[in-house]
């Protein structure tokens, strides 16, 4: 756990330190990774200690971090290689940023992501639960996305990063699906429990298959290998880390961790064998034909992890141990080779085999180190690579077919490793090594080569780690040099000879092979991926085209399915019962008349000729509805409805004023009148069915009676006010926030200059705001404004005993201001405080509401509880009782007033259209 925590801290520290000074990020990440590595080493000597924390209890999920041999091996690998790569990057990155013409402040992101990557790997290695495994598995995909696409100004880097994310990310989801299947079949996602009691039958095949596909994609195995070579656009340290200890290793790690689940399905194990065999042959062959250094290495990685897949598919204890030995041995060699490629490019500027050659004399130390690393990949003694091949052959001793395939693959790896080394360091010198490489870049290379050589001479420690990782207690891996003709030695010798022959006969096969591979390009998975992506793009373009064409299509796309669903619900909810007809008493006649008038006015508004008529009829319908509300026993709603209706109408007319007349006239052209009428009729019928059905329901039980009883304890006689300010105050707070956001939008739209192709008329064009009212209206308005403010205050204060509340108070004041602006014009009152300070008043009101809502938390009371508490005594000011709900109401009033007046202010400031 400590390496995980330290790497996470390193990532956070790199971000924080880098924000101040970009140069400070590197030491933070380096220090953190060094500590993580030290912790990982120290843990090897401590007793095993698993960590288990409660996580998602309702799903029976635990946060399990294991400390077994496998976890130790991979944590060691991730933090050790991570540290060395970071040391290398210290020398690499500044130069890289200079070359890419990027500022130094882009460096901290790299360091933080590298440390986060190491943390993700450490977490993955320790995770003891399938869901947790998925989490870290996906985290490595996300980190790799950003690191591969680190040179974000390059389209190729972005495309490669997206490709890697899509392939490994989609595959990672399969792992989650496997976890869900395991949970539903076996009742647990904990790996230890699943291993003890593996699933059977179809579930076993499903789980094993899903995990295997996720791992194959991550480890870049055929046919999901194509993302890896393209990911080579990443900075060199990232490539080195991806290939040796992080991203690609995560795939085979997944298989090792869940091996009991894989073993439960022999078919999947067999498939792994085939996939691994295909990968090692394809990867080895293609590596022979590539020219770019990093491409050769990428295909080599595909081939090398193919071996591991073959071993895991074989599944014997010896094979598992051989797999656990193979991964770190390969990591040492592959990481060193990538770093060498970076050093060579740095010193010569060349990154292709055809551009390099004969560098052995110019950089002897690097050449020797590269030879050791290449020998490790090729499996030559006396490097650690020899034992990885020896164990490979021994692990497959009972499978003849696989042995021959693996021997062929070993021959290929000898050939491409020799070709790579000779192409760079051997032969005639074709390019000068002029530029120097810092020691921080060559140091890690030499260290890795020394490790590969040292473990080649004394393989004991690594063998011990591998045996622990494979989890076999009674069986030990005992690699050593045996000078006899045992099977593994014969196969190795055969591979060396074959490899040498392949290299010697290079001229014979290289051109035809290249031609052959080029001919196959149309069939490659890359091609399929590109076609698929293009197809998706076209589909999205087509959808976009459809959408852009017409707003009505979009409305229909929402309204029609909604209507159908509603009708389906009504039908399923019992079509037969529930449509009741309630009696129409004599007292209901006024209500019936008003409702009929409101409905008719609404219909008339819909068919009106001009916008002005539409606005007036809409307002009239609103006022009639307000009367209906009053008759329904809702005086508060009626009051606010009248006020809001007035202000809405004023706003509509004020906005209409901004449009030239011809535009308005042109807009009322009617297109498909018959179709629109039909749609309207359909909507009416649906709404009628639904609302009749709902309004027929009557089971009498409602929370409202409780609210009515409780209102006096909240020191409020008006139950509606009590609900708004106290019982359901959160709704009100949310509503005020919505209003704030809408008003912010309005303010922005009204003040920012118009962009667009043909917009931007000079300010002041058109008529100035009209002030054509008579002296009398001006005087009346001036007298009205203070009066409305008084009325508003009265409504607010008395709201808790009589109809009216914060909304009503705010809107009354708002109406006063609107009338005043209408009467005297905007210019004369522009500087008055009640207009100028409107945004501040609105925000202050919202802030007051939030304060009243959160203040009780400080005293340990629940959110939005008011003081004094229910039933308590309140202070009185005359007949007015004082309590915090009143403050909340004041906030509502201020918010409504402020935002509304701000809107009117902005609208009035816009010059009228001609």
């Amino acid at each position: 756990m400590l390496p995980l925590a330290l790497s996470l801290v390193a990532a956070a520290a790199a971000v924080l330190a880098g924000r101040r000074r970009p140069g400070a990020a590197a030491p933070m990440a380096l220090g953190g990774l060094a500590l993580a590595f030290a912790a990982a080493v120290a843990r090897l000597f401590l007793a095993r200690e698993d960590l288990e924390l409660p996580w998602a209890g309702s799903w029976d999920l635990q946060f399990v971090l294991l400390d077994d041999g496998l976890a130790r091996l991979y944590v060691l690998l991730a933090s050790g290689i991570g540290f060395l790569v970071a040391v290398y990057a210290r020398g690499y990155l500044p130069h890289h940023l200079r070359e890419q013409r990027r500022p130094r402040r882009h460096a901290p992101a790299f360091w933080a992501l590298l440390a986060l990557f190491a943390a993700a790997m450490a977490g993955l290695a320790s995770a003891g639960d399938l869901v947790l495994l998925f989490f870290f598995f996906d985290l490595t995909a996300v980190c790799s996305y950003f690191l591969i696409g680190y040179d974000r100004q390059e389209p190729r880097a972005r495309a490669a990063a997206l490709l890697a994310l899509l392939v490994t990310g989609i595959a990672a989801v399969l792992l989650l699906v496997a976890a869900v299947v395991a949970q539903s079949v076996c009742g647990t996602t904990r790996i230890a429990d699943l291993a003890a009691d593996p699933p059977e039958g179809a579930a076993a095949h499903a789980i094993a298959g899903l995990i295997a596909v996720a791992a194959i994609a991550k480890s870049a195995q055929v046919p999901l290998h194509f993302w890896l070579p393209r990911a080579m656009v990443a900075p060199t340290p990232v490539s080195a880390y991806l290939h040796s200890a992080a991203m690609v290793a995560a795939g085979v790690f997944l298989l090792q961790r869940t091996h009991p689940l894989i073993a439960a399905s022999p078919a999947v194990a067999q498939a792994l064998l085939w996939v691994g065999g295909a990968s090692l042959l394809v990867g080895g062959t293609v590596a022979l034909t590539r020219d770019a250094l990093k491409q050769v290495l990428a295909y080599s990685t595909i081939a090398q992890y193919g071996y591991v897949l073959v071993l895991l598919g074989a599944g014997t204890p010896l094979a598992l141990a051989a797999a656990a030995f193979h991964v770190p041995a390969h990591a040492l060699g592959k990481c060193a080779l990538f770093l060498v490629a970076g050093v060579v490019t740095r010193r010569t500027g060349a990154d292709r085999l055809s551009e390099t050659g004969g560098l052995g004399r110019a950089m002897p130390a690097t050449a020797v180190a590269a030879a050791v690393a290449a020998g490790t990949i090729a499996g030559l003694p006396p490097t650690v690579g020899f034992f990885k091949d020896e164990l490979l052959f021994e692990g497959l001793s009972d499978r003849n077919g696989a042995s021959w395939v693996v021997a062929a693959g070993a021959a290929l790896s000898v050939a491409y490793a020799a070709r790579l080394w000779w192409g760079v360091f051997g032969g005639r010198q074709v390019v000068a090594a002029r530029r120097p490489a810092p020691r921080s870049m060559t140091g890690p290379v030499l260290l890795l080569a020394a490790l590969a050589l040292g473990l080649g001479l004394w393989p004991g420690p690594l063998a011990g780690l591998a045996a622990d990782a494979a989890g076999s207690e009674r069986w030990r891996v005992t690699p050593g040099y045996h000078f006899d003709l045992r099977r593994s030695n014969v196969l190795a010798l055969l591979a060396f000879a074959l490899g040498a022959a392949v290299i010697a006969a290079k001229r014979l096969w290289l051109p035809p092979l290249r031609r052959f591979l080029r001919a196959l390009r149309g069939l490659s998975p890359t091609h399929g991926y590109r076609t698929g992506l293009e197809g998706l793009n076209r589909l999205s373009d087509a959808m976009h085209g459809l959408e852009v064409r017409d707003l009505r299509d979009r409305l229909a796309a929402v309204l029609v399915p909604t209507g159908l669903l509603v009708l389906l619900g009504v039908w399923a909810g019992g079509a037969g019962r529930g449509y009741e007809l309630r009696g129409l008493g004599a007292g209901d006649v006024p209500l019936a008349v008003v409702l009929a008038l409101a409905a008719l006015t609404g219909l008339a508004a819909a068919t009106s000729r001009t916008h002005q008529a539409l606005a007036i009829l809409l307002a009239l319908s609103g006022f009639l509805l307000a009367v209906a509300f009053a008759l329904l026993g809702a005086p508060d709603v009626a009051l606010v409805s009248v006020l809001v209706g007035t202000v809405t109408t004023l706003v509509v007319l004020a906005v209409l004023r901004l449009f030239p007349r011809e535009v308005l006239r042109a807009a009322r052209r009617t297109g498909h009148r018959r179709r629109d009428l039909a749609v309207g009729a359909l909507a009416t019928a649906t709404a009628l069915l639904l609302s009749w059905r709902v309004l027929s329901d009557d089971d009498g039980s409602t929370v409202a009676t409780r609210y009515v009883e409780l209102a006096p304890t909240a020191h409020t006689d008006d139950v509606v006010t009590a609900i708004l300010a106290d019982f359901r105050g959160l709704d009100t707070l949310g509503e005020a926030t919505v209003v704030l956001v809408a008003m912010l939008g309005v303010a922005m739209l009204l003040t920012r200059p118009a962009g667009g192709p043909r917009g931007r008329r000079s300010a002041g064009a058109g008529r100035p705001p009209s002030a054509r009212s008579t002296l009398l209206t001006k005087a009346a308005a001036a007298a009205l404004l203070p009066l409305t403010l008084v009325v508003a205050a009265a409504i607010l204060v008395k709201s808790h005993a009589e109809p009216g509340d914060g909304f009503a108070a705010g809107t009354v004041a708002l109406t006063g201001v609107a009338l005043c602006v209408l009467a005297v014009g905007h210019e004369p009152v522009r500087q008055r405080w009640w207009l100028r300070a409107a945004p501040q008043i609105g925000c202050g009101g919202l802030a007051l509401m939030i304060c009243v809502a959160f203040a009780p938390l400080l005293q340990g009371e629940p959110f939005l509880s008011h003081a004094p508490a229910a039933g308590g005594d309140t202070a009185h000011l005359g007949r007015l009782s004082l309590h915090t709900a009143l403050l909340f109401d004041l906030g509502i009033a201020a918010a409504v007033y402020g935002f509304g007046v701000a809107l009117i202010d902005r609208l009035a400031a816009v010059p009228e259209a001609p």
């Binding site: 606005a615 329904l632 026993g633 709603v637």
Partner: protein
């Protein structure tokens, strides 16, 4: 009575929908407002009880109107107003940039712009 309320709700909703599918963007905005009105009426009508205003002291022996739906309706009213204002101003901006509030003209212009952008991209 309930059928009558349902009829009023339905008529307003239908009128609003009719306005919303016009070519005229301003009608779309006002149609939204009308549908909002219909929703508020529906909310109030859905109250479990109908009767006197729910203000203490309560009238003896009379049914009190459901206060909960009234609170909901009040909230909806103010939000309806804010959204209508936002829509109207948005349409005004559309007019400033495109000189039209006709949906079909707007769509044509958008397609034109898109092809122009694509041509420019290709040139780059």
């Amino acid at each position: 009575m309930n059928l009558l309320l349902a009829c009023a709700v339905a008529a307003l909703f239908g009128a609003g929908t009719f306005l919303m599918i016009q070519r005229d963007l301003l009608a779309v905005a006002l149609g939204t407002t009308m549908i909002g009105n219909s929703a508020i009426l529906f909310t109030l009508a859905a109250g479990r009880t109908r009767g006197a205003a729910p203000i203490h002291p309560l009238p003896e022996g009379e049914v009190v109107a459901d206060p909960l739906v009234q609170a909901l309706a009040l909230t909806a009213l103010v939000i309806n107003f804010a959204v209508s204002a936002l829509l109207l101003v948005l349409i005004w901006r559309v007019h400033r940039t495109h000189q039209t509030v006709d949906l079909e003209e707007l769509a044509d212009e958008e397609v034109l712009e898109e092809t122009r952008d694509e041509r420019e991209e290709e040139r780059i």
